[in-house]
Point group: C2
DNA sequence: ATGATTATTGAATAATATTCAATTATTTAT
DNA sequence: ATAAATAATTGAATATTATTCAATAATCAT
């Protein structure tokens, strides 16, 4: 048996989807060509970045979710962007923001379980030189990526 | 002129998209019917919740993004889920999590600007009885919803 | 081992996106 | 204010793509 699912998930998570023009047209009561024109324009202008799937992360083996509030060490403090850009490339990272306030970075992290999470953090602390890190682990997700769950 | 865009955004933000079966098939070197079968199965099983657009939020007038770390007041403390569920319905809310640690809730909020943000928070504090709130405002988003930006 | 269920796949069909050209609306320049 | 230029809307025609179906292969349960 081919493990199609394992190869599909990372593609669908990032993109590889497309708007349903005719459905949108029906829903808005407009001709589908009008919807098509407007959507393509938004894509051209960069207002739309991607079309993607939202998963029930538990059921795809990514059930552990933690928000990391991060202070960088002195040597990276001046350039959080370099660290942030590198974190953004990581497949477990759902989002990265450079912030005001008490922390420089906020990272939303998804992993299989608490063990994988701990492993990830251990590596990251060493690699990026986090000075201080607060972890807020999600007990229950009510909404993610604008999609209400259950 | 019809303001199609304003009506499209909320639909695309939540769903109304679909996977590109044939593209995925090409990319994975598998027959499109195999991809179709696997995707539909994931949908049936609830592993896939939705297909949606990711925006450049600045360019759709949602340029302000803040993470709110929330402590509930005594009267709601026992039932954060009720509050969370209600927050999840709000169109400015990208995500809601019930958390461990120093805060009960973490909310990711998108608004037009700091004025709209302030207005939102003022109303929310009164409505939901937040005891204490920490705000972390995003200065720059490197990644959101698994999509790397710029 | 054997029957039952699940997964893979090619061929045919149905649905949908896309292109194109015409029309209408809006903006810009004078 | 008017004309010219640009942008947005739309129906009809075409091109893609998803979906169904039926056959086969793989896996699972007893």
């Amino acid at each position: 048996m081919k493990d199609i699912r394992a190869r599909l998930i990372p593609l669908l998570e990032k993109g590889q989807c497309t708007p349903r023009i005719s459905q949108l047209a029906k829903k808005l009561g407009e001709p589908s060509t009008t919807i098509h024109y407007n959507v393509k324009k938004m894509e051209r202008e960069g207002a739309i970045q991607a079309y993607k799937a939202v998963f029930n992360y538990k059921s795809i083996g990514q059930g552990h979710c933690t928000y990391l509030l991060i202070n960088l060490r002195q040597e990276n403090y001046g350039d959080p962007e370099q660290v942030a850009r590198d974190l953004a490339k990581n497949k477990n990272v759902e989002s990265v923001d450079i912030c005001t306030g008490e922390y420089e970075l906020i990272v939303k992290l998804r992993s299989k379980d608490i063990d994988e999470y701990y492993q990830w953090v251990k590596v990251a602390i060493r690699k990026y030189g986090f000075a201080k890190t607060i972890s807020l682990t999600s007990l229950k997700q009510l909404k993610t990526e604008f999609v209400e769950l259950e």
